[in-house]
């Protein structure tokens, strides 16, 4: 009876923790699923199941968020592997890919949306590890050590991915015309008068 109560408490605690990190988990799941929202939601469902059924156990060696992100990353990889094995899933994956059809917006928001699209495109062009390192640090506010735990690599390796990713992202963004118009582009362009 005591163990039953304890497990109930544990489950409730786990649900509370999952709820607390739900938004960032979804963001990370999207990052792991090439920004595919539907696939990310499916991955999250599987992750929540794993956590609540005890298939993935939090042992307290890292923070809950770090551990959860590592589980999400592994699950997303597994899911992708499974979906690649299915014959017809290829078509579904293509259909699910976020298309560039954006809803009508006012000028300002349209401009921001365009910037975001370009940014996402540039991010997608980065090697996976570099993109992961940048997302974990800049999006999810993890330090490089925590990012290394999530990515399952050494600290030095994570740092290298992070630095290279930053450089490459900057280069990619500079290449796009839209960013050329922004402060970023102007600063780098020698022809521009400050």
């Amino acid at each position: 009876m005591h163990t039953g109560e304890a497990s109930l408490m544990e489950t409730q605690e786990l649900i509370a923790q999952l709820e607390q990190h739900h938004a960032s988990s979804f963001g990370w799941a999207r990052a792991c699923c090439r920004r595919d929202a539907a696939e990310a939601e499916e991955v999250l469902q599987i992750v929540y199941l794993k956590v609540l059924e005890g298939k993935a156990r939090f042992k307290g060696t890292a923070s809950f968020k770090t551990w959860l992100f590592a589980v999400i990353r592994r699950t997303a990889l597994d899911q992708r592997r499974k979906s690649l094995l299915q014959l017809l899933t290829m078509q579904r994956v293509v259909a699910r890919r976020p298309n560039a059809v954006a809803p009508e917006r006012p000028d300002e928001s349209a401009y921001r949306a365009e910037i975001q699209d370009l940014f996402r495109t540039a991010l997608a062009r980065l090697p996976k590890r570099q993109s992961e390192a940048l997302q974990l640090v800049f999006y999810h506010d993890l330090n490089i050590q925590e990012a290394a735990v999530v990515m399952g690599v050494s600290l030095g390796s994570a740092r290298t991915h992070y630095e290279r990713g930053k450089k490459r992202l900057r280069k990619l963004l500079e290449e796009t015309e839209a960013f050329y118009e922004t402060d970023w582009g102007r600063k780098e362009n020698p022809a521009t008068v400050p």
């Binding site: 649900i15 739900h22 939601e41 599987i46 199941l49 975001q116 997302q135 330090n143 900057r170």
Partner: protein, 171 residues
């Protein structure tokens, strides 16, 4: 962590991305419910899979048992006439049988067919004994006037025959 200018800009871009993600993020409860549904569905699927597997295994086991039974029956059925012929006492002079008597054969528990290969001498001996064999009831087939029936009548013999068969002779 102290951020440089570039890093601040990157962070700003990521922040906008995170805002968009937050807008698009599904409700936690709906994800949890969907997860629960998925779990129950997978449990049902697993249960039905195991039931199907158990049924299939049972069917295969029954099929194997049936095949073994039929084969066993087929192996036993040709032996029965031999047993009967061996059990029945031979009337008169028993022939030299090709097949050795069942009692002389070793008792076989397993229904294996053993092929006996005979040498040509043994076979010739067996054939000879077969031809030499006479039925014990063959004498019953003989009749008194059998010679007359088997031979052709000749000229001058008919009268004698009549005489020999006349009732006076018997009296």
């Amino acid at each position: 962590m102290k951020l440089t200018g570039d890093e601040k800009r990157i962070r700003q871009l990521f922040l906008e991305m995170s805002l968009e993600d937050q807008r698009r993020a599904p409700e936690f409860t709906s994800v949890l419910e969907a997860a629960g549904l998925k779990a129950s569905r997978s449990r049902k699927g697993t249960r039905s899979f195991w039931l199907a597997a158990a049924f299939a295994t049972l069917c295969v086991a029954m099929l194997i048992a049936a095949i073994i039974g039929v084969r066993h029956q087929r192996l036993q059925s040709p032996a029965e006439p031999e047993e009967q012929s061996a059990a029945a006492p031979a009337p008169g002079a028993a022939p030299l049988s090709i097949v050795p008597p069942l009692a002389a054969q070793p008792v076989r528990n397993t229904p294996k067919r053993v092929r006996h290969r005979r040498s040509p001498n043994q076979l010739a001996l067996a054939m000879k004994s077969l031809f030499a064999w006479r039925s014990p009831t063959a004498s019953l087939l003989k009749s008194p006037g059998e010679d007359m029936l088997k031979s052709l009548p000749r000229l001058g013999e008919s009268l004698q025959t009549i005489k020999s068969l006349s009732p006076e002779r018997f009296n």
